[in-house]
């Protein structure tokens, strides 16, 4: 049976549970570590505990693919790392800065592309990028050069003078990514960067993210579709109900090769579920209850979903 392993840090050898270290506790990290999270817990005012004692370690230049079904706690985790939410317990150290203790200072080290994007719609793309360039401390020629460079990287050139609200969802996503790129932050958090895009736009955007991954920044890229992250990350981790899933027995993260192996193996355990939304929800709930991580890789048509099991349940 695959079991959640919330206390074991992703990216570290299996270790005893860290438990609930008090908020703001200072951690000593190894020099190569750029992000260190220990015993992170977050409960929303409505009582839902979205993150239940997560730990995570990322080294400089490493890209983590964060997968999990909707409601697993991925966005909450990214917002906690970005300092937008305050944890009940745990510590986050980003590039040497204590995020929980001083979120404003930590924002210099972390750039988040949130989901939903929340871009300003009543300005042009150029004004939007110039604004955030100024926010990130760029001025004069350096600002102009950086905005042009970002526009070139993202292929935004023809749309720079267009009002943001006239842009398609795909171009708005590129613009939001552009905002994150204007920052010199060593840690990039991309929350569902390809959500809501058609196949072509999704492929373009993921190719762009892949090229960013090659640039040496430390990144966490989340998606509820695990195969989407293939070729993108160095390591992968799956969240479910606010905890890490031991997708491979005894480990909370796995490599790209192991992902491919899992996906190939998973094809043998592919479930095709046809029916209405309630039927699909029951199938997902049954897999969740059995602790079987799965990816909903494609829909075969109206009322049909293909659920690929990453590991078969224990006999």
């Amino acid at each position: 049976m695959i079991t959640p392993a919330s206390s074991r840090p992703v990216g570290a050898a299996p270790s005893p549970a860290v438990g609930s270290r008090p908020v703001g506790a200072v951690l000593q990290t190894a020099p190569s570590l750029v992000l260190s999270i220990t015993g992170l817990r977050k409960r929303y005012p409505n009582g839902v505990e979205a993150v239940k004692g997560l730990s995570l370690e990322l080294r400089r230049g490493e890209v983590l693919g964060l997968a999990g079904p909707n409601g697993a706690g991925k966005s909450t985790l990214l917002k906690l790392i970005a300092g937008l939410l305050r944890p009940e317990a745990g510590a986050i150290l980003a590039d040497g800065e204590d995020v929980t203790g001083s979120p404003e200072r930590a924002a210099r080290h972390i750039a988040l592309m949130p989901d939903p994007l929340g871009v300003y719609t009543d300005v042009s793309s150029r004004e939007y990028l110039r604004f955030f360039g100024q926010v990130f401390g760029l001025r004069g020629d350096a600002l102009d050069a950086r905005v042009e460079e970002t526009a070139d990287t993202l292929g935004l050139g023809p749309w720079m003078e267009a009002e943001v609200e006239t842009l398609s969802a795909g171009w708005q996503r590129r613009l939001a990514l552009g905002r994150a790129l204007l920052s010199d932050a060593p840690i990039l958090l991309l929350d569902e960067p390809a959500a809501g895009l058609d196949v072509g736009a999704r492929a373009d955007l993921l190719a762009l993210v892949r090229s960013l991954a090659a640039s040496g920044r430390t990144m966490i890229v989340s998606s509820h579709i695990l195969p989407e992250l293939e070729n993108l990350a160095d390591r992968y981790a799956i969240m479910q109900d606010g905890v890490w899933v031991e997708a491979i027995p005894g480990r909370t993260s796995f490599t790209r090769e192991e992902l491919r192996e899992g996906l190939d193996g998973g094809a043998a355990h592919e479930l095709r579920v046809a029916g209405d939304a309630a039927t699909l929800a029951r199938a997902r709930a049954a897999l969740d209850a059995a602790g079987v991580p799965f990816s909903e890789s494609a829909t075969g048509g109206l009322g049909e979903a293909v659920l690929k099991l990453l590991h078969s349940p224990a006999p």
């Binding site: 937008l84 404003e104 924002a107 939903p116 929340g118 871009v119 300005v123």
Partner: protein
């Protein structure tokens, strides 16, 4: 001051049609009232009184008080959604996840709100000049009242901005702003009336200066009323000005503090 939030705010607001419509409204109301003034002047002329100075005084008074009331109301409403709208449109996470401290974001928002108030205030200056030319009140008196209107509106805008930081929905922020203005302009003076009526103290200082300072003189249009009431008299009481000049900046600072706190709240 180089504040990117202010620059973006000004650029976006200048394109808004709503801004021009509001300014037009502010110009149109005194214009309609001026026409009424002209009609009254005509009646006074028939009655054999000096029509020009009476008409000028009336025009000046009406322009100042209608301008003051509208300016306070519109400035507060114009500022009431500035932070809550960021939460509502989900644009706040990107803004907060930046090296810009909450204090500078709040200052940019506040200066943007004040720029809007200044713009509205300047639209009425031509009417004040007209009232002064008409006769009745000196231009310096009208200008003093105009400046007091502006100061009260700036305080109301800052307070509304602070309230907008507390809410995730613009409608809630608008309602809270309306309720706060009502509390300030209606409930506080009523409490003051009861307090003064119930006061058995025979001390003039208590009933004529301290209690009015606490309950009346800081109201958005109170010092202007005192200026008009003192017109032609030698002595002008300083109590209304002291009260207003203490309470209005305090409200503005409190609003700014609330806005900064609101920006430091969690962003879901």
């Amino acid at each position: 001051m180089n504040n990117p939030v202010l620059s973006l705010d000004l650029r976006a607001r200048l394109r808004e049609r709503r801004l021009w419509i509001l300014a037009l409204f502010l110009v149109a109301v005194p214009m309609v009232i001026s026409l009424l003034c002209l009609a009254v002047t005509g009646v006074a002329s028939i009655a054999g009184r000096d029509p020009f100075s009476e008409g000028g005084s009336m025009l000046g008074a009406i322009a100042i008080f209608s301008h003051g009331a509208l300016l306070v109301l519109l400035s507060a409403l114009g500022a009431a959604q500035r932070i809550s709208q960021e939460r509502e449109r989900r644009t706040l996470p990107a803004l907060i996840n930046s090296p810009l401290p909450a204090r500078r974001i709040a200052d940019g928002k506040l200066l943007g709100a004040w720029a809007f108030t200044l713009w509205l205030a300047f639209t009425t200056l031509p009417f004040l000049a007209m009232a002064s030319l008409w006769g009745g009140l000196p231009f310096t008196t009208l200008l003093l009242c105009w400046a007091l209107n502006l100061a009260a509106a700036l305080a109301a805008a800052a307070l509304a901005l602070g309230l907008s930081g507390l809410f995730g929905r613009s409608l809630s922020a608008y309602l809270a702003t309306g309720a706060t203005l009502f509390l300030w302009c209606a409930v506080v003076p009523v409490i003051g009336l009861f307090t003064i009526a119930g006061s058995n103290s025979g001390h003039d200082l208590w009933t004529e200066t301290i209690l009015p300072s606490l309950f009346f003189y800081h109201l958005p249009l109170a010092p202007q009323v005192m200026v008009f009431a003192a017109e032609g008299k030698k002595a002008l009481s300083v109590a209304p000005f002291v009260s207003a000049l203490v309470v209005w900046p305090t409200l503005a600072l409190f609003g700014r503090h609330l806005a900064i706190r609101g920006l430091r709240r969690e962003v879901y």
